[in-house]
């Protein structure tokens, strides 16, 4: 009896730890969509770049996991800033579809380039050994220390981002700039720069999730593409552009997938879309969105 309970608890804990990745990725998407009105289809590719940059830092320069947690998002964030300045900024006045097409094209190009250079079977990136100290084990319950770390780090990042946007002055400028850009600019705030930095920050969030994911999954060019469809479903369920919605739904869907894995494994991907359909039928703006 206790054994069953521990086993189920373990699967649920695993699901929530996966939910941390969904939450971090959908958070970045929600920030970018909420602030810039751009559907960033390159998010998966940017997540993959985060993991690859960490791997490159390790294999080429001998820079380990901890510095990579900072360096990789910074580097990939700068790439994001360049993308925004050179391309995406030109599309703000147009329909959403143009931004979607552009970022989707960018994702294909980036993934293709990585595939050509690094091949398709993936690179290995191991978690530092010190995480083994965090291993949780009672009887049949076993949770690797690194997964515990992912859960803690993911939750902290999500809460911090939410606090910055909802509770700080910078966040209030951002939200104001979305509602009335001209008025905010009239107050002397550089709105285009703020947009650029927001996109860079959203991309950096994806890259950070990529670094966290590198020791869990194989680092390969399609690793982001595997995630991105589920993550878009998370954003839609949470409510497009809703930061809190993205975070809560990310963890929630991780939990639901964890349960589905035990009950009926074949449906563990489909369940997300079934929930999406139900939410869209009953609350078209999403769980946390405003109609």
């Amino acid at each position: 009896m206790l054994e069953d309970l521990l086993f189920n608890l373990q699967l649920v804990a695993l699901g929530i730890s996966n939910g941390a990745f969904y939450a971090m990725l959908s958070l970045g998407l929600a920030v970018i969509f909420g602030m810039l009105n751009v559907i960033n289809f390159a998010h998966g590719a940017q997540f993959m770049m985060g993991a690859f940059v960490a791997w490159l830092l390790l294999t080429q320069l001998g820079i380990g996991y901890w510095p990579s947690l900072l360096l990789s998002p910074l580097i990939v964030g700068l790439v994001g800033v360049a993308m925004e300045r050179l391309m995406i900024a030109r599309l703000y006045k147009l329909d959403h579809l143009y931004g979607l097409l552009l970022t989707f094209g960018c994702a294909l190009v980036i993934e293709g380039l990585f595939r050509n250079i690094f091949g398709s079977s993936g690179q290995r990136y191991s978690a530092p050994r010190e995480f083994q100290a965090l291993d949780l084990e009672f009887g049949d319950f076993f949770m690797p220390g690194y997964r515990v770390w992912v859960l803690i780090a993911g939750t902290t990042i999500c809460i911090a981002t939410w606090l910055v946007i909802e509770k700080t002055k910078v966040g209030s400028y951002l939200r104001a700039a979305v509602e009335r850009p001209q008025l905010v600019q009239a107050f002397g705030i550089n709105v285009p720069l703020m947009m650029t930095l927001t996109y860079g920050a959203g991309v950096a969030l994806a890259a950070l999730a990529g670094v966290l994911a590198a020791p869990v999954y194989s680092v390969h060019p399609a690793m982001g593409a595997n995630f991105i469809i589920t993550v878009f479903a998370v954003v839609v369920i949470g409510g497009m552009g809703s930061i809190l919605g993205a975070i809560v739904t990310g963890f929630l869907l991780g939990f639901v997938q964890g349960v589905t894995d035990v009950v009926y494994s074949e449906a563990s991907q489909t369940v997300v879309f079934v929930i999406m359909a139900i939410v869209l039928l009953t609350r078209p703006a999403g769980l946390f969105g405003r109609a």
Partner: protein, 413 residues
Amino acid sequence: MSVNRRTLLGAAATAPVWGALPYRSARAQAANTIRIGVLNDQSALYRDISGPGSTQCVEMAVKESGITQSGINVEVVQADHQNKPDVGSTVARQWFDRDGVDVIVDVPTSSVALAVNTLTRERNKVFLNSGAATSDLTGSACSPNTIHWTYDTYMLANGTGGAMVRAGGNTWFFITADYAFGHALERDTTAFVTAAGGRVLGGVRTPFPGTTDFSSFLQQAQRSRARVIGLANAGGDTINSIKQAAEFRITRGGTKLAGLLVFITDVHSLGLEVAQGLVLTETFYWDLNDRTRAFTQRLGNMPGGLRPSMVQAGCYSAVLHYLKAVKEMGAAAAKASGAEAVAKMKAMPADDDAFGQGTIRADGRKIHPAYLFEVKQPSESKGAWDYYKLVATIPADEAFRPLAQGGCSLVRS
């Protein structure tokens, strides 16, 4: 949202096909030019095991066959089938009908291979499959125009499955990719396990593609107390399963992992630290003997610094043998009838550095030994790509499904 993406993906997917097709007129080709089309995955998960490396192997076979000295020209073209049967069929049809391609080589991904198999028979051309796994190519779907060269699901199940049961792994739990290939591999392996007195305690079907975290499936497998966890999946799924099994220390209680389809590039990607002890079956390993080492050395640098996979080596071996047949029967006769060319290949014994001596059966199955390998511990590996130690050699006549059991119509007639 997902509808948008799918529509876009569909539209995007067709674009590279047109770019990949070589624009040549069939009328322009001379009667003494053999045109070889290498059709495989150039851009996704099977790129490293096939992809540009297969083309490199085919080009080496052309060079080493010495066919140009006989006054026969050979041209090699390549295209990406993107693992989609419709894309593969479109390319194959254009190659046969417009570009004068005589033989299609490689074609990983079983569903694409079966589509090209049918088309090749209709057009009476030649199909030398190296990359696909399904044993149906020499069973219910066998064709007088097709030779299945390198490996198949029966051989994998026989090799790895059989060996694990003999080593005491008599209870199994399957983690199966939820599509035709995974089901076939699970079915074939189950047959071996039960025939050897073993039992299958359970299994999970994992959604394909899109599953990235296998840890909960591995936990379920561990909980079943099965001695062997059979991974009936391939490529990135296998890599993630093995990586996460190490993370969750699945094997600490004595449970063994059986990677039913593992390529050397997968082992390279995993690293010996994680992959050590894994048992797998292949028909080619670059460091197997002097001949395979010589073959690998002649091949030179591969794309991405990789070593040849058995699929790529199979492309070399198959094309070399085909060109031998062409030399004997003449280019005109070989071009006129694919079935005749294949019949000629079946009548000749095969011998090359990659696979050694072999024969081709009436059902189109190329017969050669299979090798059961165990992945070395990091301390045992002496250098780059020194990954396998040989556990057992399965003789050629035992490695593949007996001729009478496949249900191939060519055998009955």
